[in-house]
Symmetry: C2
Subunit: 268 residues, 2 copies
Amino acid sequence: MNAVDLKSADLLAQMAGAIASGSIEVVDLTHTLDQDFPVIILPPEFGQCARFRMEEISAYDHRGPAWKWHNISLCEHTGTHFDAPSHWISGRDIPNGNVDEIPVNRFVGPVCVIDCSAGARENEDFELTPEIILDWEKSHGPIPADSWVLMRTDWSKRRGADYLNMRDDGPHSPGPTPDAIRLLVDERGIRGFGTETVGTDAGQGMHYTPPYPAHFILHGAGRYGLQCLNNLDRLPPTGAVIVATPLKIKKGTGSPLRVIALVPGKDA
Amino acid sequence: MNAVDLKSADLLAQMAGAIASGSIEVVDLTHTLDQDFPVIILPPEFGQCARFRMEEISAYDHRGPAWKWHNISLCEHTGTHFDAPSHWISGRDIPNGNVDEIPVNRFVGPVCVIDCSAGARENEDFELTPEIILDWEKSHGPIPADSWVLMRTDWSKRRGADYLNMRDDGPHSPGPTPDAIRLLVDERGIRGFGTETVGTDAGQGMHYTPPYPAHFILHGAGRYGLQCLNNLDRLPPTGAVIVATPLKIKKGTGSPLRVIALVPGKDA
Ligand SMILES: [Mn+2]
Ligand SMILES: [Mn+2]
C-alpha cells in the first residue's frame, strides 16, 4: 500500500516530531574544523587554500567579562565544504553560480550513497566507473533525477598525512572517471556529487581528459560538489535526505558548512 | 480529521517531493556576508568582533588556471549567526555547550514567530514582554516545548548605520525583557530565541537585571540564540520548521551559518 500524501503543514509537523522522537535520525556528515584538518595542497606556483585558524577575542576576562568568542579564518574550500559552479572555469558563466545566488530549495534533497569502501581499501587510486553505478542501480533502482550522489570510500577515517596521501607524483585518492560523471550528470540529471576525500576528483584527476572531470563536468552543468564528508558509512544506499547549506558569501565559489542527513529510522 | 502518521521513510520521501514541487517553500533567513554587513561594536576596552573579509586566491588565471576561490576571515558572531551556550559566562559549564558538541538533532526544529514589527517601528527600544507573549498565545496557542521563538521586528530592513543605531549612550534596538525570556525558557521550555538585530538582547540590554538577559538566561539554561536573521516577515506565526546548522568549529562559541525555513505552502 502506498503512503497517503500528507498536506505540507502535516508533513512538517510530523517531520519535526519524528526528529524529536528519534524515528528520523539526524547524522552529522561534517568533520570538526580545527587547525589540524588537512587542506588541498597545490603545486607551489599556484595560490593556496588556507587552513582553519581561530584567535580568542575574549574568554570571560578583561577583554570581555561575560562572554567568550573567537575570530576565525579559513578558505571557502577548507574542511567539509560545498563547491558552487563558479569554482570552476567551466561554470564561470552559469546563472546563479555563486553560493549567495543558488536557490535555497537546492540545499535540501534526496541522496544516493554508492559504497566503494572495499575497492578503496585495496586501491588508493580506486575509480568509480559507469559499471559500478549500473551495478548499484541493479540493487537499488535508478538514481532519481535531482538527487545528490555520494561516493563512500571510508577515506574520512584516515588521519594526518594519510588523508592527502601525497607522493612524488602528487596526491593519491579515489574518485570518479569522466564517464562516470557524464553518466550521473547527463543521463541521470543529478543535483550534485560528494566525496570523503579533499576534492570531488581523484587525487590523480589531473591526468584524465578533461583534467579534474568531476569539477569540470559538474560545474559546467551547474551542479554542485561536496567534499571532506564524514560518516558516510552511517547512511543507507537510498532514502536519506541531506541538508547542505553553504554560507551566503557574496560571490562565494564555495563554503565550509555543516552537512546533516535525515535518515529513516527503525520504523521504516 | 487528523493526518495519518507516516513512517519515517515515507515522511522523508514526501518532504523531498514537496520541496521539489514547491508545496513546501524554502525561505532564506540569512543576510549576505560581505564587508559591509555591520558587526556589534563594543566599548573600546573590550576585544572586538571582526567584519567579514575575503581575499581572492585565484580567478581562472596564473594563480590557478581552471579555478576561482577565496580565503575568508570573520568572527564566529559575524552576520547571521548562532550563539552556543559557551558564548556566555552563565553557560560556560553547560555540557556540550560548544557548536561542535551540540547534538545535531537540535539543528532542525519548529518555530514560532512573534510579530513585534508595529511596535519596533514606533519605538527603537521596543520591549518584548510577557504580556505580548501571552497575547500571542491567545491567537496561536501555547508555544510548544523545544520550539525556536523568533522576534520579528523588521529590523533586518535597516541598512548601514541605522542597523546598529548607535547613539552617545550606546546602541538602540528592540529586544526582550528579563521576564519575557524567563517565561520562554523556564515555563515554555523553548530551544532557542532569535532576532533580526545584531544580538538576542536589546541594544540597551546592559541596563537590565541581569545585564543582557537573553544571553544570560538562555545560555545559562543551555539554550541557543540566532541573530541578524532576515526575512522573518515571510514566516507564518506557527507551522514552519527551521534548519540552523552552525559550522563544526572546535570549541566554537557560535558560528556564522545559513538559516533556512521550511514553510507550509498553499495546500495547507
Ligand atoms: Mn572545493
Ligand atoms: Mn552572537
